[in-house]
C-alpha cells in the first residue's frame, strides 16, 4: 500500500534512460551519486528539488532505451515511489516493479495534471488527485503479477518468500 503527497514532475513522450541517468555516471553504483544526476539530461531542477512523495507523470514509452536499473535507483534516491505514464518501455517497467516502485498506466493523467501541481496518490483506492480537490484520476490496477511483486516490496522479498514456500 502506498500513499504519497508531493508535487508532479511532468515529462513528455519517449523519455529514455540516457536522459534519466547518463551512462557516464554508471561506474559508481552508489544510489546517492546516481540521485544527484537524476534526469540531468531533461530537467535542470529535478536533481536538486525532487523530494519524497513526489510523483512523475509522463507521456508514452517512459524509460525507453537501455536496461540500466540505475534509472529507477536514481529516481528512487529522491523518494519518488510512483510513476504514472501513458505507457512504459518494457524493461524499465519490469525494473521499476522489481525495485518496488508503483507504476501506473494512465491515458488521462498526463493531460490532466501540470508540472508542479501538488497531488496525492493512494494506491489502495487507485486514485491520483490534486490536493485542492479540483481534479482526480482513477488509475487502473496494476496487473496481478507486478502488483504482487510491488506489494512484497520488490522482487527480492518476493522471491525470498517463494523460496521459503518451496522449502516448506
Amino acid at each position: 500500500m502506498l500513499t504519497c503527497e508531493g508535487r508532479v514532475w511532468k515529462f513528455g513522450d519517449d523519455v529514455n534512460t540516457d536522459l534519466i541517468i547518463p551512462g557516464r555516471y554508471l561506474d559508481n553504483y552508489d544510489p546517492d551519486h546516481l540521485a544527484k544526476h537524476a534526469m540531468e539530461g531533461i530537467s535542470k531542477d529535478f536533481a536538486s528539488e525532487a523530494s519524497p512523495g513526489d510523483v512523475i507523470v509522463a507521456g508514452s514509452n517512459f524509460g525507453c532505451g537501455s536496461s540500466r536499473e540505475q534509472a529507477v535507483v536514481a529516481l528512487r534516491g529522491h523518494g519518488v515511489k510512483a510513476i504514472v505514464a501513458v505507457s512504459f518501455a518494457r524493461i524499465f517497467y519490469r525494473n521499476a516493479i522489481n525495485l518496488g516502485m508503483h507504476v501506473y498506466q494512465s491515458p488521462e493523467a498526463h493531460s490532466m495534471f501540470a508540472d508542479g501541481d501538488v497531488i496525492s496518490l493512494d494506491s489502495e483506492k487507485n486514485r491520483l488527485r490534486s490536493v485542492d480537490g479540483s481534479r482526480e484520476v482513477m488509475l487502473a490496477d496494476m496487473p496481478t503479477r507486478p502488483r504482487e511483486i510491488v506489494d512484497s516490496g520488490g522482487l527480492i522479498p518476493y522471491v525470498k518468500h517463494i523460496m521459503l514456500e518451496r522449502k516448506v
Binding site: 561506474d27 532505451g65 536499473e69 519490469r94 527480492i156 518476493y158
Partner: protein, 423 residues
C-alpha cells in the same frame, strides 16, 4: 486452431506449456542468461538470497565489455569483484576485457542455439534472434532472481512480421533497413512485441546482417526479434543444419499482430539524428553537416562485414583533417580476421584509430567521449542526447560505409559516391 509463431513456440517450450499463445503469462526457465559489468549489481542483489551459486552456473554467461579495459578505479574494482565471483561460483563462460561485446560473443562463440530462450541484462539481447533464438532484455535485480530460482515470468508477445520484396541496391546495408524501419515504426511501434524478419529477403542477408536488424528492434520497443532458422544457419553452424527447424520457425498459418511489407528499392543509405533514432532520412538530407568524430563498432555494426565495407571506402583515401575516425571491432576474433585480411591496415593507413574490442565510446563511458558542440556519426544504435558524452554533442547514426565516407569527407557523405554507384 491457427498455427503458432516462433515466439509462442520458444516461450511455450521454456515454460513446459507447449500450447502457449500470445497473451499468456508464463513461468519460464531460460536456456542462457547473460550479464556484463552489471554482474556487480546482479551479485549484490543475489547476495540477499544467501545462496552459494546460480541455479545452473553452466547457463550463465558473463562478459566485461562496457567499460573495458577499466576506465576508472571504481570500474577496475567492479571488474576485480566480478572475476572473483565467477571463479567462486564456477561460472566458466566468462569473457574478460578485450574479448568483445556480449551480444557478439553469444553468437560468435555459439553460446546460443536456435529455439533457445536467452535473457540478458542488456536491452540489445534481442540481437541473438539472428540465430533463431528468443532474446529479451531484463534488469539486474531480475537477473538475480533468475540466478536464485532459474525462473521468471514473461508474457508471450504478439508478433509483427516484416518481409521485404526486391533487392537492396549497392551501398545499402542492413543498417539502412533498420533505420528505415525505425523511421516507420517509431520508438514504441513494436512495444512489447516480437519482430519476426522472414521471407525470401533473408536469403540475401547474412547472420551478421540479421544481427543488425534484430539488434535495432530494441529501438522500436520490441521485446524480442527473430529471424527464424533457415538454410543460412547451415553455414553458421553445421550442427544447426540438421536442426528440427519446425521448432524454430512460425507455422504458415500463425496469426500476427501486423505484417509489414518493405520494398528493397525504397531503401537508400539512411542517416538518423540527432537525439531520436526514428528521425532517419536519406543521407542526402544531411550532407552539409561537419563531422568531428566518426565511430565504427558496437553490437550493431562492429563485425567483419562492417569493417570490410568501411575499408572499401577507406582504401587509398585519408580521413579528413579535423575529423577523427575510431574503430572498435566487436570482438577479438573480428579484429584478428580483419587483421589477416588487411582491413585493419587499410583503416590505419587512412588515418583511423583502432580501439580494443568492446563497447568503446557507444555509451559515453570512455575511449572517445564527445565535447560540447561536437558532431559524431556512428554505426551504433542510439543517438540519444548525452549518450556519448556532452549533452550538447550531436550523434547521427548510419551504416559503416556511410560513417567511413563521412570520415573521409569531413562531412556527412553519401557512401554511393565512394562505392561506384551512379547517382
Amino acid at each position: 486452431m491457427s498455427g503458432r509463431t516462433v515466439a509462442e513456440k520458444i516461450l511455450g517450450r521454456a515454460a513446459g506449456k507447449p500450447g502457449a499463445k500470445a497473451g499468456d503469462v508464463l513461468e519460464v526457465t531460460p536456456d542462457v542468461v547473460m550479464s556484463h559489468e552489471n554482474t556487480f549489481l546482479v551479485d549484490k542483489a543475489f547476495e540477499q538470497f544467501d545462496l552459494e551459486r546460480p541455479w545452473a552456473p553452466d547457463k550463465v554467461v558473463v562478459v566485461l565489455d562496457h567499460r573495458s579495459p577499466a576506465n576508472t578505479v571504481q570500474t577496475a574494482n567492479a571488474h576485480a569483484r566480478i572475476r572473483e565471483i565467477v571463479r567462486r561460483m564456477g561460472i566458466e563462460r566468462f569473457y574478460d576485457v578485450g574479448e568483445g561485446v556480449c551480444h557478439q560473443l553469444l553468437v560468435e562463440k555459439k553460446l546460443v542455439r536456435p529455439g533457445q530462450l536467452v535473457l540478458g541484462a542488456d536491452s540489445h539481447t534481442t540481437t541473438v534472434g539472428a540465430v533463431g533464438a528468443f532474446g529479451a532484455g531484463i534488469g539486474a535485480t531480475e537477473m538475480a532472481g533468475i540466478w536464485a530460482t532459474g525462473e521468471t515470468w514473461l508474457k508471450v508477445p504478439e508478433t509483427i512480421k516484416i518481409t521485404m520484396t526486391g533487392h537492396l541496391e549497392r551501398a545499402v546495408f542492413p543498417k539502412d533497413i533498420a533505420l528505415y524501419l525505425a523511421s516507420r515504426l517509431g520508438p514504441s511501434g513494436a512495444d512489447y512485441m516480437c519482430m519476426e524478419f522472414s521471407g525470401i529477403f533473408l536469403f540475401d542477408i547474412s547472420i551478421s546482417g540479421r544481427m543488425v536488424l534484430c539488434n535495432m528492434a530494441a529501438e522500436m520497443g520490441a521485446k524480442a526479434a527473430i529471424a527464424p532458422a533457415d538454410s543460412t544457419f547451415g553455414a553458421w553452424s553445421p550442427e544447426c543444419a540438421s536442426l528440427n527447424s519446425g521448432a524454430c520457425t512460425s507455422d504458415p498459418d500463425a496469426s500476427y499482430h501486423d505484417i509489414i511489407e518493405l520494398v528493397a528499392e525504397d531503401i537508400s543509405p539512411m542517416v538518423s539524428g540527432p537525439d531520436r533514432v526514428e528521425s532517419g532520412r536519406g543521407v542526402e538530407e544531411f550532407e552539409d553537416i561537419e563531422v568531428d568524430q566518426a565511430f565504427i563498432g558496437t553490437c550493431t555494426n562492429g563485425r567483419l562485414e562492417d569493417l570490410i565495407a568501411a575499408s572499401w571506402v577507406l582504401k587509398g583515401n585519408k580521413v579528413a583533417t579535423g575529423t577523427r575516425l575510431l574503430v572498435a571491432p566487436a570482438s577479438k576474433s573480428v579484429l584478428s580476421d580483419a587483421l589477416s585480411m588487411g582491413v585493419i591496415q587499410t583503416i590505419l593507413e587512412a588515418g583511423g584509430t583502432i580501439l580494443p574490442p568492446g563497447c568503446g565510446p557507444c555509451l559515453g563511458a570512455h575511449e572517445g567521449v564527445l565535447a560540447s558542440g561536437e558532431v559524431c556519426i556512428s554505426s551504433s544504435n542510439r543517438n540519444f542526447k548525452g549518450r556519448m558524452g556532452s549533452e550538447d554533442a550531436k550523434i547521427f547514426l548510419a551504416s559503416p560505409a556511410t560513417v567511413a565516407a563521412s570520415a573521409v569527407k569531413g562531412r556527412i557523405e553519401d557512401p554511393r559516391r565512394w562505392l561506384n554507384v551512379d547517382l
